[in-house]
């Protein structure tokens, strides 16, 4: 049955399923196609010739190819959030309900307002934007660019988040094959029979490659039968995987390949729980590129008229889809292969208007065919096309010898020969080599482990494709140590091949090289005249080959024209560098699962769910979610909550989850010596049961990280790092252990996740701990002095570690329990501390109290400061070597005028201090010459009832009491601040020791 209005559908034949009609809409018009159609073939079957408007000139365009090389037939597919611009109609599988719209036209495809651009075509030449929109500079962003973007360009992005899911996966194999044409299938057969693990990627939704359109006889069987038999055999091999709808797009180092699988692009919406597309990273020991070749156009005036189509594409539409792009076809060819289109056309009952063959010596067989079917064979070339948005009407031919002829036809098939797909073989900066006999570039070597076969290697005969594929498959399997028997190769005849190179026919009217970017032959010639001769310059100046099709049908023609005008040969002119991806790959596929809240992995502290129950506000700190503050009903803003938390700690007791600190077990008899070498201060002399603050430098003398380290046993230290540097410090310590000091007997293990650790602070800390710690434990100042560290029993039977360390300046302990008890511990602290008003506090209050106490943290340990800058210079041991010791002594790092940590407070107590403000001497003009440092950390101090901060200020510690200017050009502020002791709170330290 021929469905509905499918006026250009043949009554039978093709690989479409006529029992499954599919309804679809193009530019709002409902049409019918069949299962097995692409959008392009269904449009062809419905007689649609005009599919889009061109990029720059808004010229009417049709369908040029039947594959992923298509430059013209780009549509917006789907609607709403799933609208996908620049989708190739030639590869989009038809599904019931498909919606597509043409691009770059207004108000409609047939009546496009901006087609007036064609009238101005003479000025839209190569380099037009560069030459025209130069002045005034500020007009570029405000006027020119928005205007150009409206006028030029292609489809519109959806503009809203993609509702579909994407994922990424790894695959491993011995032999990876790109392409399932005869060469690829033969390679898979040989490799599979040898016992190799094989992955074959095919970008089409049906395996077979050109066999699907061109047929042929293999092993005495019609191509379709041979394909079916081969697929059945491959399907019986458990380690052979055929991935259709999958394009191998990139080749990376070490035998890693990128492929994109369009898992559900052929459905309106992916089924529930399924992804739209999947990005594959395939690791293969060997790879075989059987990616075929791309038929190339011949550049002539009007070659972009809808109805002008690649000869092989016309065979695909007729042979594979039983859809006829024209009723009366002319062929323009310079080679033998083009003539197959004539045979296909005749076989389908189409009229052949004429064959225009650029070669002087057309075979007698072809001449017989022509006379039998009543069409002329014209020796010459196409000089122009008369037609427009309704397609081709007449073809002007300039005959060899100078005479002119005219051909009436509604379709023109063009074959300029074939370009092997050399992308994959060239992605490691390989440069293909020129072969005169086929007038094409072929791979010249390939990335390690890769070989090209068949048409991708310049072998265009069916027999040669099968032979090369099979041999490569067997060899690759053998290289992988697979010794099975490959059997015999499939056999077919090789077709004759003859070609006379022809790239460009001079004529009147625009002759397009790159149809997607509207680059004409005269643009290439202009580029040459203006000095952009190198192919890399040509590409960038004219934008030739820079559209989404990456010049698959245009690059070689462009450089052939450049070669002609420069008088060089094509190989001398050379190709541009090939880079992946071979086809556009959606960013969503690269992101996979990593978007929105799963953009990166998240770490949760042991008290996270409890804190969430309390209504904590969380902040992202690296990968962590940390409770920032715990708002209570009636609090108007974060400052009010944080102030309450600080006051509760300073006046009573509070606790904060500090499990995010990096924690490392340092074991072994040399653990102390090891720590002496990585810290500026000594740890080998630390008593068991004591903790010490340590500072690490980089080898260049700059501070790296800090933290407390406790000695839990003779040969066991427990080291903590900052939250931010946890992973890096572990890596650094392993480097020290394994590379710098392998002679030391020391073992390192991260125990960051083993322990739930909480800081308990405030004058009532001991009271709270007495509730929860077993009464047998002595928590008195004598029994558990400042910087003590030991294991204690808790009521109810579990063990905990207690560290008497303080970041807040208050009487404080850190308590840690094995992580699965972490949530129980916070709940028990709340119970035990109820009568004491125990208050959970977040990272903001923690930060306020550390600024009040003058402790340095991330903003001060910023990769530019020395120990002395931080006021910790005296910690540097002179009795031992340690990482960074020598470089820390360099002149510039001990210069007296360095910027050092100092306290900063506005003289106006009501003023808010901002971090980032520059410190300028009073009375001086702000500027780099007078910049003496900046404010690093600020907070509102509830204790001092004003904003305070820390800063890095030149000679800061010698200038306590001096009034300077805080200059904040970002916020347009400047105000007086006093430089002061950075320890704002309890400078004598009685509270934390008491």
């Amino acid at each position: 049955m021929v469905g509905g209005a499918q006026t250009h559908r043949l009554a039978d034949g093709g690989l479409i399923d006529r029992s499954v009609p599919l309804s679809f809409r193009f530019d709002g018009k409902t049409l019918l196609g069949f299962q097995g159609d692409t959008l392009a073939s269904a449009l062809v079957a419905n007689g649609v010739k005009l599919v889009g408007r061109s990029f720059k000139y808004h010229r009417p365009r049709g369908i040029l190819t039947a594959g992923s090389e298509e430059p013209n037939a780009l549509v917006e597919l789907r609607s709403g959030a799933r609208r996908e611009p620049n989708t190739k109609a030639t590869t989009a599988e038809l599904y019931d309900g498909l919606e597509a719209a043409s691009q770059n036209r207004w108000p409609s495809l047939r009546h496009d307002f901006l087609s007036v651009n064609q009238l101005f075509a003479p000025i839209f030449v190569a380099g037009f934007y560069y030459k025209t929109f130069m002045w005034p500079a500020k007009f570029w962003e405000a006027v020119y660019e928005p205007a150009i973007r409206r006028a030029a360009g292609l489809g519109r992005a959806a503009g809203i988040a993609d509702p579909d899911h994407y994922d990424k996966a790894w695959a491993h194999c011995d032999v990876l094959i790109a392409g399932s044409g005869p060469a690829g299938l033969a390679a898979a057969l040989a490799a599979g029979r040898s016992g190799a693990r094989v992955i074959l990627c095919e970008e089409d939704f049906v395996p077979g490659g050109r066999l699907l359109a061109d047929g042929g006889t293999i092993d005495g069987l019609p191509a379709a039968e041979w394909i079916a038999r081969t697929l059945a055999e491959l399907g019986s091999m458990p380690d052979v995987r055929i991935m259709t709808r999958t394009t191998l797009f990139g080749v990376y180092d070490g035998g890693t390949y990128g492929a994109i699988e369009r898992v559900n692009d052929h459905l309106p919406v992916p089924p529930e729980h399924q992804v739209r597309q999947r990005l594959w990273r395939i690791v293969a020991k060997r790879s075989i590129v059987a990616a075929g070749a791309i038929e190339r156009p011949i550049v002539f005036a009007g070659n972009d008229t809808p109805g002008v189509m690649m000869a092989s594409a016309m065979r695909s539409y007729v042979g594979r889809y039983a859809a006829t792009p024209a009723k009366r076809v002319a062929l323009f060819t310079n080679n033998e292969d083009g003539w197959r289109t004539v045979q296909t056309a005749i076989g389908a009952g189409l009229q052949v208007a004429a064959v225009i063959d650029a070669r002087p010596d057309v075979s007698p067989a072809h001449r017989t065919l022509a006379s039998k079917n009543g069409f002329p064979v014209l020796n010459g070339s196409v000089a122009g096309v008369d037609g427009g948005k309704d397609g081709v009407r007449k073809i002007a031919v300039s005959l060899t010898g100078g005479a002119r002829a005219e051909v009436d036809a509604d379709g023109l098939a063009v074959s300029g020969g074939w370009n092997p797909s050399v992308g994959l073989t060239s992605y490691h900066r390989g440069r293909p080599k020129w072969r005169d006999d086929i007038a094409a570039f072929v791979p010249d070597g390939a990335p390690p482990g890769m070989v090209a076969v068949g048409a991708a290697n310049g072998a265009f005969g069916l027999g040669a494709c099968l032979r090369q594929g099979f041999e490569a498959g067997a060899a690759a399997a053998s290289d992988c140590g697979r010794g099975g028997t490959a059997g015999s190769a499939p056999v077919a005849d090789d077709e004759a091949f003859s070609l006379t190179p022809l790239w460009h026919v001079a004529g009147k009217g625009k002759a397009f090289v790159d149809q997607q970017h509207d680059v004409t032959a005269s643009d290439v010639e202009l580029a040459q005249r203006e000095g952009f001769e190198s192919v890399e310059h040509l590409k960038r100046y004219t934008t030739l080959g820079m559209a989404t099709d990456q010049g698959k049908t245009s690059n070689i023609a462009g450089l052939a024209i450049m070669a002609a005008v420069t008088g060089k040969s094509i190989p001398e002119t050379g190709t541009t560098i090939y880079r992946p991806p071979y086809v556009p790959v959606a960013i969503g596929a690269f992101a996979g699962h990593h978007r929105d809240e799963t953009f990166h992995a998240t770490r949760l502290t042991p008290s996270h769910h409890w804190a969430a129950e309390q209504g904590a506000v969380f902040v992202d700190t690296g990968l962590w979610k940390r409770a920032q503050w715990y708002p209570r009903a009636g609090e108007k803003d974060w400052l009010e909550s944080v102030t309450r938390e600080v006051k509760a700690v300073r006046g009573g007791v509070g606790f904060c989850d500090v499990s995010t600190l990096g924690k490392i077990d340092v074991h072994g008899p040399d653990a102390g010596v090891f720590l002496d070498r990585v810290y500026i201060n000594s740890f080998s002399n630390l008593a068991v049961g004591k903790a010490r603050y340590g500072l690490m430098l980089r080898e260049d003398g700059i501070v790296y990280d800090d933290g407390t380290t406790s000695r839990l046993a003779e040969h066991h230290y427990f080291l903590t790092t900052t939250t931010a540097k946890a992973g890096l410090v572990m890596q650094h310590l392993e480097f020290c252990r394994q590379v710098l000091f392998p002679e030391l007997d020391v073992q390192l293990t991260s125990v960051s996740d083993q322990w739930a650790q909480f800081s308990i602070a405030g004058p009532k800390t001991r009271e709270l701990l007495r509730e929860i710690v077993d009464p047998s434990e002595d928590l008195s100042n004598e029994g558990f002095p400042f910087m003590g560290a030991r294991e204690v029993a808790l009521r109810g039977g579990i063990k905990a570690r207690l560290f008497r360390i303080s970041f807040s300046g208050e009487m404080a302990f850190e308590i840690s329990v094995p992580a699965r008890y972490g949530e129980a511990l916070v709940r028990n602290l709340m119970i035990a501390g109820k009568s004491l008003g125990v208050t959970p506090y977040g990272t903001e209050a923690l930060g306020v109290m550390r600024v009040e106490k003058g402790h340095v943290a991330g903003p001060e340990l910023n990769g530019t400061t020395t120990a002395a800058d931080l006021g910790l210079g005296k910690m540097m041991s002179t009795k031992k070597d340690f990482i960074g010791r020598v470089m820390a002594g360099r002149e510039a790092l001990v210069a007296p005028d360095r910027q050092v940590v100092v306290g900063v407070k506005p003289t106006d107590k009501a003023r808010r201090l901002r971090s980032g403000a520059h410190v300028i001497p009073k009375g001086e003009i702000p500027g780099p010459g007078n910049d003496q440092g900046y404010v690093t950390s600020v907070c509102f101090s509830p204790t001092l009832d004003q904003w305070i901060g820390l800063g890095l200020v030149e000679r800061g510690r010698e200038r306590i009491g001096e009034i300077v200017r805080a200059h904040d050009p970002l916020r347009g502020e400047a105000y007086d601040v006093e430089l002061c002791n950075p320890v704002f709170y309890d400078p004598e330290g009685g509270r934390q020791r008491g």
Binding site: A171, H172, T598, V751, P818, A824
Partner: protein
């Protein structure tokens, strides 16, 4: 004095919902969190790898793995975690850190990791398809046989992976993941597994 209860919460306690998840029909996968295990990391002292191996052999009757393997006896599994180091995975304190301290005294340093990891067991017909989304390692049965182990990364997170004995003719893969990353990785696993249909459970028994 208040009474305190010390409830244990596994890292996945709040997020794991038992029952079916994802595509309906026969589940292609089962995902089980194993809870409340003992896990001790043993790392040989300098030059003491042979002594550590001998101590392990004496204690467990099997040599400690010297290559990425998991070996075991009835009540402990020794899983390679890096050069000259391995995990001892067990239940009920028999081979917890206190029990092992004397066994490896002088030959290895021990760190308790019982609370530092979540243990997830994955099996089923589609297990390799699902893991291929998380793991860059080749899990083909010829390459990653029963007893193979790997210190590797999934979703940029360190994971210790090993293949246990087959269950019902299906491969079983065990994943030790960092506790604080466990929820995040769990969601990634569910996302990867949803299309195959999953049966989710938890267990106190080591497989």
């Amino acid at each position: 004095m208040a009474e305190f209860s010390w409830d244990i919460r596994s890292p996945l306690d709040r997020t794991l919902v038992t029952g079916p998840y994802g595509a309906r029909g026969e589940a292609g996968l089962s995902l089980t969190e194993i809870r409340n295990f003992d896990l001790v990391q043993a790392m040989a002292r300098r030059g003491k790898a042979a002594e550590m191996a001998a101590a392990a052999k004496a204690r467990f009757g099997v040599a400690a793995p010297e290559t990425p393997k998991a070996v075991g006896n009835a009540d402990a599994t020794l899983i390679w975690s890096g050069p000259d180091q391995f995990f001892v995975l067990s239940k009920g304190g028999r081979h917890g850190i206190e029990a092992l301290a004397s066994v490896f005294a002088g030959s290895a340093s021990l760190s308790d990791q019982s609370h530092a990891r979540a243990l997830i067991s994955v099996s089923g017909q589609r297990v390799r398809a699902m893991l291929a989304k998380l793991s860059s390692i080749d899990l083909h049965p010829d390459v990653f046989a029963v007893g193979s182990a790997a210190a590797t990364s999934m979703d940029h997170t360190s994971v210790t992976l090993w293949r246990g004995g087959d269950r019902g003719g299906q491969a079983v893969f065990n994943l030790l993941v960092f506790s604080t990353f466990a929820e995040s990785l769990w969601h990634t696993i569910l996302d990867s597994a949803a299309e195959y249909g999953v049966t989710i459970g938890h267990s106190e028994e080591l497989a």
